[in-house]
């Protein structure tokens, strides 16, 4: 049986599945339910200074795809709207009762040294395991000079991280905003400021949809809307890339990462961990299906690890990082082509029309004895994978690597590269 126990920057939890700082971790009641359900830890809903913020009514937008609900989700909520004292009392109580679970407190206060100093002392008193600095919230709070407004300026990130390291013994996680052009910069700043880890991503600036009757973005608040933070399955690829960028950046390589963004299954988690994440945080999937999803995450990850012979998370953590490279390092001589299994093909023609209209005209459409037959024209196929992705039936189309007999050659070495020629001349 795989050992799922996690030790992330010294914070121990029975499994690597934490709930991200958000409504699921808003108060004692939710968090206790989450722990009962089996979550390894929580990052408590972001705390700020009193008086608490006030939220508007109508707060969430969503992307639905056909009958699939909430493949993407957005919100215009602010940080915790409950008094600081009450939150701290609850945190203390829950941590006392659930010693084996990770309890992280998310914080966001104005960019002044005293504000951070004061709140840190009060959080320490709860015996929480660590803090997470919310430099990510892209709406509302950023208009007040907090959240993403801090996270987008590496100098501020570094400064606040340093204050926190200075005023508390607790491990410090810096939560990064994806609303930047180069996520490596704030990650580097967090490291310089002494942060123990980064977590990412927070939500992405977004408008989920326009209500065509109200002619306003959703969620509509009395006729008007505002951009909100995007999250859920749809953001996973963006988060995965950002995690990979930080993992392979020499300046931050090896820095512990808590991965967040579109995680809802064991497989999502395994993918982020293969990209070096030490643990993962979940928000939208829990908001969609409730806390019980952690059961399938635990059992799925454990069974997959058993199947692969990984005993602990450290056994496979980061294994994919060396294989993330720059485009110019890819082997230009590698060739793969599509193959359609005629036995299981259902003749929907989707591969054909996709390739014919938008790719390389590499699939032939024939009628043989009145039956449709779709076949790859091997010589024409460039191995783009479009048909493979469009095919609705698993395993009907496979991409088959070809033996070209040619050696590894990357673009910097390729004679067809004009830049290379110039360099050689």
């Amino acid at each position: 049986m795989a050992d799922l126990r996690s030790n992330f920057i010294g914070i121990k939890s029975p499994n690597p599945f934490w709930l991200a700082s958000a409504p699921p971790t808003d108060k004692e009641y939710n968090v206790v339910r989450a722990f009962k359900a089996g979550w390894g830890g929580v990052v408590w809903k972001t705390l700020g200074e009193d008086p608490p913020v006030v939220n508007v009514s109508s707060r969430y937008g969503a992307m639905h795809l056909g009958p699939d609900r909430m493949i993407g989700f957005n919100n215009i909520e602010l940080i915790s709207d409950r008094p600081l004292d009450i939150n701290l009392q609850e945190i203390k109580r829950v941590k006392r009762d659930w010693k084996d679970r990770a309890m992280i407190v998310s914080l966001m206060v104005p960019c002044e040294e005293d504000s951070w100093k004061n709140i840190l002392a009060r959080v320490e008193d709860t015996e929480a395991d660590g803090i997470e600095l919310n430099f990510g919230c892209p709406h509302g709070m950023s208009e007040r000079g907090m959240g993403a407004a801090v996270g987008q300026v590496p100098e501020y990130v570094e400064m606040v991280a340093r204050w926190c390291k200075q005023y508390t013994r607790m491990p410090v996680i810096v939560k990064l905003t994806p609303n930047v052009t180069d996520v490596r910069k704030p990650a580097q700043a967090a490291k310089k400021g002494g942060a123990d880890a980064v977590s990412l991503i927070n939500t992405i600036n977004s408008i989920c949809s326009v209500d065509l009757d109200a002619m306003a973005p959703t969620p509509v608040v009395d006729g008007k809307g505002t951009h909100g933070g995007y999250c859920g399955s749809a953001v996973k690829p963006i988060a995965l890339n950002m995690v990979a960028e930080i993992a392979r950046d020499p300046a931050t390589h090896g820095m512990p990462i808590s991965a967040i963004g579109g995680i809802g299954t064991w497989r999502d988690a395994a993918e982020f961990m293969s990209m070096s994440a030490g643990n993962v945080q979940v928000c939208t999937a829990a908001m969609h299906y409730g806390f019980r999803i952690v059961e399938e995450m635990v059992s799925g990850l454990s069974n997959w690890m058993d199947e692969k012979g990984y005993r602990t998370i450290e056994d496979f953590r980061g294994l994919a990082v060396p294989n993330v490279t720059d485009w110019q390092q890819l082997n230009i001589n590698f060739k793969t082509i599509a193959h359609i299994d005629q036995e299981t093909c259902i003749q929907c023609g989707l591969c054909y029309v996709a390739c014919e209209d938008t790719s390389h005209q590499s699939i032939s459409a024939k009628r043989v004895d009145g039956k449709r037959k779709y076949e790859v024209i091997d010589e024409e196929c460039v191995g783009c994978n479009l048909c493979y992705h469009a095919c609705p039936v698993p395993n009907v189309i496979t991409m088959v690597p070809q033996n070209t007999g040619k050696p590894y050659l990357n673009w910097t070495q390729d004679p067809r590269n004009p830049m290379r020629k110039k360099a050689a001349e």
Partner: protein, 453 residues
């Protein structure tokens, strides 16, 4: 034979509530949620096999995608462009041998997309919205007479009017619709849908209707040819085959199509007399429909007897199963030999078992059995009533296989006279085939009128 008691045929076997339930929508419409889920199952195939399998070649993936993106009206427009009776077809098509049989989902999971149900969802939406998606082309100045206001006739009339011709429909009966109005099983087309659809079709304009006017009685082919630039014959099959068994003239032996017409027109179905024990002879739609509807009117025992095996029945397997679920007993491989009765009323049918001989021909085995009954329904096929065509017409209308002979353009042997629907041999005798015939014949007639053919 005086040991027979009087036949037990009477009305009111079931309560009004039971009758209402039994003749309610057999396949209730999809609601928005279900339509969304179902439409998302469509792969949006390229060169989709379902389109080939639909006699009217509706662009099925396109209309289903319109539903999926919440444009049911657009979906209906796609459907109606190909098939003006898309609403009725969605209710009555044996989809299990048409579009849904061809659905590629059958290959991977044995569960096709419910194309028929989605088609109904879309067409209902358009009808309920009261939208008229079609307009007429500028007048051609040409006039066309259509004989018969069934699916073939109305489909042709609609297309001809759209193309700019003025159409007059001659219909022998009181109402338009043909078998949509008088033949289709009641629970397939509830709430008077046939007339709703007729009104929708006529709302285009350019279609004059003369009901109670029969070719051969009130008008002649010769006369019509003089008064109109073209004639389209779509009179369906008005006759029924005889059993050819002794005793066929007794009371209690009924033609199924006639009884169904009465059932369809009855204001109060509870008042329809039905036998306690019913025997149905035949193996098609009509046989299945009369058997099920007898049962649903309250008949105690209904036995359907067919002279060949299940695979030979023109009723689909799905329909046979549905009959069985309704408590109809189906007996294969037997044919009626003799009908017995008392006081001129039938009480018993004597059947002979059948089998195929070495050459694959049907033969009796000599063994017999009998079934007691109060009513016998004949449902062994309809025939073309050709008399009205003959009349005093100088030109002779060629026939083929008991039906009107037509070429690929639905032209008969007489210039300017076209025919389609059940009265010709096109595909299977189905509503959707008749609609396809009417549409395609209209396109041929248009070409003819414009001097292109």
């Amino acid at each position: 034979m005086s040991e027979y008691a009087a036949p037990d045929i009477r009305a009111g076997r079931l309560t009004a509530a039971e009758i209402a339930a039994n003749f309610n929508d057999v396949k209730p419409p999809l609601d928005r949620k279900r339509a969304l889920v179902e439409s998302s199952r469509c792969f949006y195939c390229y060169d989709a096999p379902c389109i080939d399998a639909c006699p009217t070649s509706i662009d099925i993936p396109s209309f289903i995608r319109s539903i999926a993106v919440n444009d049911p009206i657009g979906a209906a427009e796609t459907i109606l462009e190909a098939n003006i009776m898309g609403g009725m077809c969605s209710r009555v098509c044996p989809v299990e041998i048409l579009c849904e049989d061809a659905c590629v989902r059958n290959h991977s999971e044995d569960k096709p997309v419910q194309i028929g149900a989605l088609q109904r969802y879309a067409t209902d939406a358009l009808v309920n919205a009261g939208k008229q998606p079609f307009t007429r082309a500028p007048s051609s100045g040409k006039k066309v007479a259509v004989i018969g206001g069934g699916p073939a006739g109305l489909s042709a009339a609609h297309r001809l009017s759209r193309l700019g011709h003025d159409v007059t429909v001659y219909e022998a009966r009181e109402k338009l619709g043909g078998l949509n109005e008088y033949g289709i099983a009641a629970y397939k087309t509830v709430h008077d849908f046939a007339q709703t659809e007729v009104s929708f079709i006529l709302a285009l304009g350019g279609i004059a209707v003369k009901t109670g006017m029969a070719l051969g009685r009130d008008v002649t082919l010769e006369g019509l040819r003089k008064d109109y630039d073209a004639v389209f014959l779509a009179m369906g099959l008005g006759g029924v085959n005889a059993l050819g068994a002794a005793g066929e003239e007794m009371a209690g032996i009924e033609d199924a199509v006639g009884y169904i017409a009465r059932l369809r027109q009855a204001k109060d179905r509870q008042s329809l007399p039905v036998g306690r024990k019913v025997v149905v002879i035949g193996g098609g739609n009509t046989a299945i429909d009369i058997a099920i509807q007898s049962k649903r009117l309250g008949a105690e025992d209904v036995t359907l007897v067919y002279r060949r095996g299940p695979d030979n029945m023109s009723a689909t397997h799905h329909e046979q199963e549905f009959a069985q679920v309704n408590g109809v007993k189906i007996k294969h491989w037997a044919r009626p030999l003799k009908l017995h009765g008392a006081n001129g009323a039938v009480r018993e049918v004597e059947f002979e078992y059948t089998q195929l001989d070495d050459k694959g021909r049907l033969m009796g085995t000599g063994e017999t059995f009998s079934i007691l009954c109060d009513t016998v329904f004949k449902a062994i096929g309809q025939t073309l009533v050709a008399d009205p065509l003959n009349g005093k017409a100088k030109d002779v209308l060629d026939m083929a296989g008991g039906k009107i002979a037509v070429n690929d353009d639905f032209a008969t042997s007489i210039k300017g006279v076209f025919a389609g629907g059940d009265c010709v041999t096109s595909g299977i005798d189905l509503t959707v085939q008749s609609v396809a015939d009417g549409r395609d014949a209209a396109i041929s007639i248009d070409a003819y009128l414009r001097g292109e053919a």
